[in-house]
């Protein structure tokens, strides 16, 4: 069995990639994808610890997060579609109503 360390490293790398996507990309679709990556990095960490500690709660949490991620993707994509209809763009900088 591979040591937990490798799983955690993968989880960390996934999370960093996801975070970079959320923070750096201006395309709203890519930002959503970044969020999915972050969530799945969390899932992976959960499962790693669950296996290591022999605790089923981690698995339960992982399922919860998968459901959550699915719902979030559905709502997020719907918002994106209506955003595009309204503005003809999904560039966050152009869509923002906040002070620039």
């Amino acid at each position: 069995m591979m040591p937990a360390f490798y799983y955690l490293c993968l989880s960390f790398v996934l999370f960093v990639i996801g975070t970079a996507g959320v923070l750096l990309r201006r395309n709203a679709l890519i930002v959503l994808m970044g969020i999915e990556l972050q969530l799945n990095a969390g899932n992976l960490a959960m499962l790693t610890f669950a296996r290591q500690l022999g605790d089923e709660k981690g698995h339960a949490f992982a399922f919860l997060i998968i459901a959550l991620a699915a719902a979030e993707a559905a709502v997020g994509l719907a918002i994106l579609v209506s955003l595009f209809r309204a503005r003809q763009t999904i560039n966050l900088d152009e869509a923002s109503l906040m002070k620039r």
């Binding site: 975070t19 959320v22 923070l23 750096l24 966050l92 900088d93 923002s96 906040m98 002070k99 620039r100």
Partner: protein
């Protein structure tokens, strides 16, 4: 309920207050007739109550201290307990009669005098407020209640002097009166505090019995008994309110107010409050002869000084104002020589004749189209016959011509000054004769300047211009009737207090007998002394009148103009009131103003406005600028900040607190465990729990990372260490196995 508490004394001041409240709140909408009915009705009802209390209820209880009415407990702190209570004894009762009776007449007079004034309701509201405050002042059962009235009348005085506030001079005169009185009130307060400090009570009825030679009042301070300082500070208050040297300067300026106000407040009632206060506390004042000497000397000096200033004034009301200052000096000599009933007697006669004189002045000014310049008058005897008649009676009364009221009261004071024993036979014995002689001179002066006023106003031909002459008329009857009543009082009022020594019948001095229960018996003056000074003062009064006639009979005569041209400097100095106002301005007002301006520029402008107010704003502004730069409006940057913050939080919360391996030092069956980790662990407030035998219970706990334990037996043991970080509530565990082998045992 006993007889002393059977009368609702509170109603007497309450009625005028009620009138004032109604007029202030609703008066603007009332017709003039309604305003007068409310104002005069309130004070008339108070007068009726005062008379019935004084003549029907008071005689039965006068000996036990008079009527008393406790409204409620006002202040109770420590051993200080003050009731809001009123007391009417002979002294306060007499003052009550004067205030309500003369107040009522002046309300009637003012109804005619103020007829054309648009602020009719406000005027009567203030007048009622004044009467209520004055009644609180005299009826107050203790010093604090008196002080409430004392301040109340000061306020009303201010409001009424500046009644025609659109003229700056009037507003300034009001301010001057108020501020000058503040100085006096400061003395009054200090005196009151000292009195409480010395006696533990502020009730008049309790101070009297305490004021004995052996009491705490006689404890020496700075070489004088405490009573001296108490009396002196209270007397400073009296010099402010009663316009004595050195605080008299406000009263002549107070003539800026409407004439009924001058008559009521600045002649008949409020300005006598100081005299009343000294008489009220007579038991305290007679304790210290030096104190009495100061009161008497200040009174005599004021009487003389003001009389001299009166010689050269050309404004009708100014002459009367200085005359009031002078007559108040007489009263202070009366009370200062231990001759309390005569001081109060003069207060009473003065109230009539001076109110009469002022109302005559109002009537004359009414006739002269508002001008009070006596150099432009003359010949008014025929044109205003009623006013003339009243003026003659009051004039003779103030001059001290026999049978007129002023004669008896002035004579009682002068003869008393010579006969008094209040200063003992020691080194203060000179005070009596000296103040008596000063008063004789002042009486001569009084006769002179009052006669000058009379001759310049009423005799000879008119010096007014045609326009004014054409308008001269007698006042309406609502003004004349009060005048006549006052004239009757001024003419005959003296007979209630014929000095006992004069005719050898002390029982004819009704006033003196009334007042015995309040201020002690009348000063006994030998028949011969009384007769002598009666003759001298009568002679001086007539001399003054004839001198004035020689100078001013029928207008400005040759001796008067000659005198004025031979001593132009002196005459001008007197006309300028000895330039006391200028002196005060240079010594007190201007330095004070300079200081105020400097403080304003430094403290207000720089310290408060710039540093404190501006500084606070600048700091907030700076913080705003800094925090505003964080708000860039880019959601992803906010997210980045959130990610960094979250990472930092996790880093700090999960910093390792334990080493990778426990350091265990074995010596026999004793082990020493060191769970410390390199770095600044000690600063984190960690607590360590050591479980050496793996039973779930900690054998050693504490903040030290090291622990020592001795096992009972050798073999293998498991050591568990739990570390708690109190800041994050996180726990970390570590365990280590040791094998002691057989060492130590066999």
């Amino acid at each position: 309920m006993n007889a002393a508490e059977s009368f609702n004394l509170r109603l007497i001041p309450l009625l005028p207050f009620l009138g004032a409240a109604i007029l202030i709140l609703f008066g603007r909408g009332f017709k003039r007739g309604t305003v007068v009915a409310i104002a005069a009705g309130a004070i008339g009802a108070a007068a009726f109550l005062s008379f019935s209390a004084f003549f029907q209820v008071l005689p039965a209880v006068a000996e036990e201290g008079g009527l008393r009415d406790v409204v409620w407990k006002w202040i109770a702190v420590g051993n200080l307990s003050i009731d809001l209570a009123f007391r009417m004894d002979a002294l306060s009762g007499l003052l009550c009669l004067i205030i309500t009776f003369i107040g009522f007449l002046i309300h009637l007079y003012a109804a005619g005098y103020m007829e054309h004034d648009p602020d009719y309701a406000r005027f009567f509201a203030y007048l009622n407020l004044f009467c209520g405050s004055m009644l609180v002042l005299v009826l107050g059962d203790s010093m604090p209640v008196m002080f409430v009235g004392w301040e109340g009348v000061g306020l009303c005085s201010y409001l009424l002097i500046g009644f025609w506030y659109s003229e700056t001079a009037n507003a300034n005169a009001g301010k001057k009166a108020f501020i000058t009185n503040r100085i006096g009130d400061f003395g009054f307060l200090i005196g009151m505090f000292l009195l409480f400090h010395a006696t533990g009570t502020l009730r008049f009825s309790e101070i009297g019995p305490l004021a004995t030679a052996g009491s705490t009042l006689m404890v020496p301070y700075w070489g004088m008994p405490l009573a001296f300082w108490i009396g002196l500070f209270l007397f400073i208050g009296a010099t402010g309110k009663s316009a004595q040297l050195p605080l008299y300067v406000w009263l002549p300026d107070a003539m800026a107010g409407p004439t009924p106000v001058s008559a009521l407040i600045h002649a008949a009632t409020m300005v006598t409050a100081g005299v009343y206060m000294v008489a009220r506390l007579h038991a305290l004042y007679v304790l210290v002869p030096a104190l009495m000497a100061i009161v008497a000397l200040v009174g005599a000096a004021t009487a003389l000084f003001a009389a001299i200033i009166g010689f050269a004034q050309n404004d009708f009301k100014k002459v009367l104002a200085y005359s009031t200052v002078s007559q108040l000096g007489f009263m202070f000599v009366g009370v200062g020589t231990g001759n309390f009933s005569s001081g109060v007697f003069h207060l009473y006669t003065h109230a009539f004749f001076k109110a009469g004189l002022f109302l005559c002045a109002g009537s004359i000014m009414h006739a002269m189209s508002g001008s009070g310049d006596i150099t432009k008058m003359g010949g008014l005897r025929k044109l205003t016959p009623w006013t003339h008649g009243v003026f003659v009676v009051c004039w003779l009364a103030i001059c001290g011509v026999p049978i007129f009221s002023g004669f008896f009261s002035k004579d009682a004071i002068v003869a008393g000054a010579f006969a008094t024993e209040a200063f003992g036979t020691g080194n203060l014995a000179w005070v009596g004769p000296v103040v008596g002689s000063m008063l004789l001179l002042a009486a001569l002066g009084t006769a002179f300047y009052m006669s000058r006023l009379y001759f310049l106003v009423f005799s000879g031909a008119s010096r007014a211009d045609h326009e004014t002459q054409h308008h001269i008329h007698e006042s309406p009857s609502i003004m004349v009737v009060p005048l006549v009543i006052l004239a009757i009082g001024a003419g005959l009022g003296g007979f209630v207090g014929v000095p006992g020594g004069l005719l050898g019948h002390p029982e004819w001095n009704l006033l003196g007998e009334w007042l015995t229960s309040s201020v002690g018996p009348e000063l006994e003056v030998p028949h011969n002394t009384e007769m002598t000074f009666m003759a001298i003062s009568t002679g001086l009064a007539l001399l003054g009148i004839f001198l004035a006639r020689a100078f001013y009979g029928g207008g400005y005569r040759e001796p008067a103009t000659k005198f004025a041209s031979s001593f132009p400097g002196f005459v001008q100095l007197v006309r300028d009131k000895f330039r006391v106002d200028e002196l005060y301005a240079a010594v007190i007002v201007r330095p004070l103003r300079g200081l105020s301006v400097a403080l304003f520029r430094i403290v207000d402008r720089v310290l408060i406005d710039k540093l404190l107010v501006g500084g606070t704003a600048a700091i907030v502004d700076l913080l705003g600028r800094i925090t505003r730069s964080f708000q860039v409006g880019d959601g992803q940057r906010y997210m980045a900040a959130f990610a960094v913050g979250a990472a930092a939080l996790v880093f700090f919360a999960t910093r390792p607190t334990l080493p990778a391996h426990l350091k265990v030092n074995v010596s026999g069956t004793t082990v020493t465990v060191d769970a410390s980790r390199a770095g600044r662990q000690s600063q984190r407030g960690l607590t360590y729990a050591f479980d050496f035998d793996d039973d779930g219970r900690s054998e050693v706990t504490g903040t030290s990372p090291e622990a020592r334990y001795t096992y009972d037996k050798a073999g293998t043991h498991t050591i568990r260490v739990t570390v708690t970080d109190p800041r994050w509530h996180t726990e970390s565990h570590i365990k280590s196995e040791i094998d002691l082998g057989n060492g130590g045992r066999n």
